[in-house]
Amino acid sequence: MRAGFLGGVLLAAAGYTWLAFAELAWLSSAGRLGPGFFPRIIGVSLVALCAYSLLIDRGASRETLTPYWRTTVVLAALSALFVAALDVLGGLLSTIAFMAAALWILNRGRHVQNAVLALALPLCMYLIFRVWLNAAVPRGMLGLPF
């Protein structure tokens, strides 16, 4: 897993470094240090250190997953769905849907408590952010007034 993560960082760093060399100049037209100066140093250092770490840590013992990895994946997927739903359902409806789904998974069997929390918390958030602070809350595509 760690090697996979390091490999991912190495790939991204290689792409970053390639762009820094291909598109950004070391010196500006005025002869001063250009926009590519710092990114090239950062990119080369990152690639070198990631490659070195991959080499050094290749013999590290295999990591085992905890029994809770499934819950973590479900929670991360729910968070992604929540962000996606913001643009469609708008702030209030998507937060109610997210809270209901998350509590149904995490707090099983307590239907009344879950229903109260799924309605009360999003409503509080909406009142604080939209009404009190006049902050931006997504409207969504449904054209609802909240």
């Binding site: 950062i42 250092s45 973590t72 992604a80 962000v83 702030g91 937060t95 997210f98 809350v137 997504p138």
Partner: protein
């Protein structure tokens, strides 16, 4: 104006009813944040930053700073009663705090940690009042080479001092630097790594990254380790009766510890990158070495509890010195505070105290009042906070995700930044799982543009010669302190102090 005159000016700002209200809200939120495992002050500050948009700048910063130092108080309650630190800076409090609670001395331990936090915090603020103006005067002569060296000092200290693999710490910082180069290059006007996106022209805002790494990332990791399933069954019960209060012997036994640890904590806090966690662990180590009864440490020594507590609170005060006088944050939490300053058009640096005395001294004066409020809250409202410890994590977690997501969107009304926050959350989880440093990434992202600009300016001034970094006395001083701190960090690693 003298220090007392400035403090009176600051007090007149801090005691306005609205600022007092923000201060009280801030310390209560800070206490709660400290109690919740897996949700630190950096995440809380980042999430609550948008909430302050409707406030007056001084009141907003007073509240955010109160959350920051208030969290140092709250984290210890769970260390003592549950053997689970609410904050990394409260880890040392578990060594003797939990054994004290198991011996039926939870009440005295809770009161003594509050007193130690108060003394550390208050001594720290007194030292800020005296030293910050002097620091401002010294740092006015700093040029690009000194600022570049300070950036490097902060990052290298963070990487060496905070445990884990140093290579992964450097990789984390380099990722932060790389993210910091996205956007228009201010010196030449060239776009860098924007891929034609209008959203990326101004660069990557660090608020979504900080909320993702410290809010979502920590939360996913807490779930991965099963925090939601553990409950609060192991909580040590205590009774608010005669034995609740500490004895005179407790105070007499720890009087030197309190002063020594506060001074040590403040000095460590002033060094960018070192921070409250290192201060508390070093204080524990120093107190154990200085004690006539070191064998009691780890078995319920009061000095082993109050030393780290005084140190971590003094360190959080000390960290405000480089933040206010140089604009250099020493930790992820102070990096978010820096963002708050900038959002309000306040540029921390050598001239801040001279140009905005009502703001700088208002903040410092509010910290005196905040520490008094926290002492009272800690002693008299402990039962309330103990009830909070019992709140199940499975109910808290969805609320935290909700606040992180809506909070990020509300900063700029951007769904792209909300997705960025989610991506940073996933990255934060993997970084935490594999021993990388999200704090180094955020600090490098914040300091990257300053580091790049000062490096390019320095080399332009010197005609490309790196000797500019050793030419001036100030640069040599910074280099000397950096080498000393790094040497100490390496020694700590070798001697296994952190373990």
């Amino acid at each position: 104006m003298d220090i007392f005159g400035n403090l009176l000016l600051g007090l007149s700002v801090a005691i306005s009813p609205i600022n007092l209200a923000y201060l009280f809200i801030g310390v209560v939120i800070g206490m709660v944040v400290g109690i919740i495992p897996g949700f630190g002050p950096a995440a809380a500050l980042a999430v609550l930053l948008p909430v302050t948009f409707g406030m007056e700048p001084t009141g907003a910063v007073i509240m955010l700073a109160a959350i920051y130092y208030g969290s140092q108080y709250g984290g210890t309650i769970t260390s003592i009663l549950l053997n689970t630190p609410g904050e990394s800076s409260s880890v040392a409090a578990t060594f003797d705090g939990y054994p004290l609670a198991q011996q039926g001395r939870a009440g005295p331990a809770l009161v003594m940690q509050a007193v130690a936090s108060f003394i550390g915090g208050t001594l720290g603020v007194i030292l800020i009042s005296v030293l910050a103006p002097a620091f401002s005067l010294v740092t006015r002569s700093f040029g690009p080479p000194e600022f570049f060296l300070l950036v490097m000092m902060g990052l290298s200290t963070l990487i060496v001092m905070v445990g884990g693999n140093w290579r992964y710490g450097v990789i984390s910082a380099l990722i932060g630097f790389a993210l910091g180069t996205v956007g228009v290059d201010l010196e030449t006007g060239n776009s860098r790594f924007t891929f034609g996106s209008a959203e990326l022209i101004e660069g990557i805002d660090f608020i979504p990254i900080a909320i993702g790494l410290f809010g979502l990332g920590e939360l996913y990791y807490a779930f991965y380790t099963g925090l939601h399933a553990s409950g609060s069954g192991g909580i040590v019960q205590y009774q608010k009766e005669r034995r609740f209060w500490p004895t005179l012997a407790d105070f007499v036994e720890t009087r030197v510890t309190l002063v020594r640890s506060s001074l040590l904590g403040f000095i460590i806090g002033v060094i960018p990158g070192a921070g409250a966690t290192i201060a508390s662990l070093m204080s524990y180590s120093v107190e154990k070495s200085a004690s006539r009864t070191p064998e009691k440490f780890g078995k319920g020594a009061m000095a082993g509890l109050v030393g780290p507590e005084a140190a971590n609170n003094a360190a959080s005060s000390g960290a405000m010195v480089p933040l206010l006088t140089l604009g250099i944050p020493g930790s992820a939490a102070t990096a978010v505070l820096l963002a708050a300053f900038l959002l309000w058009g306040l540029t921390p640096g050598p001239l801040l105290m001279a140009q905005k005395p009502e703001f700088a001294w208002g903040l410092i004066a509010s910290m005196y009042l905040g520490n008094v409020a926290l002492l009272a809250l800690n002693v008299f409202a402990i039962p309330l906070f103990v009830q909070m410890i019992k709140l199940p994590y499975r109910l808290l977690a969805p609320s935290v995700i909700l606040i992180c997501t809506i909070g990020t969107y509300s900063v700029n009304g951007s769904i792209v930044e909300t997705w960025l926050m989610f991506a940073a959350g996933l990255a934060g989880f993997f970084m935490k799982r594999h021993g990388f440093s999200p704090a180094a990434l955020v600090l490098a992202l914040v300091l990257g543009p300053l580091g790049e600009q000062s490096l390019r300016q320095s080399l332009t001034i010197s005609g490309g010669s790196f000797s500019i970094f050793v030419d001036r006395a100030a640069s040599l001083w910074i280099l000397g302190i950096t080498v000393a701190v790094l040497g100490l960090g390496i020694l700590m690693r070798r001697s296994g102090v952190r373990e």
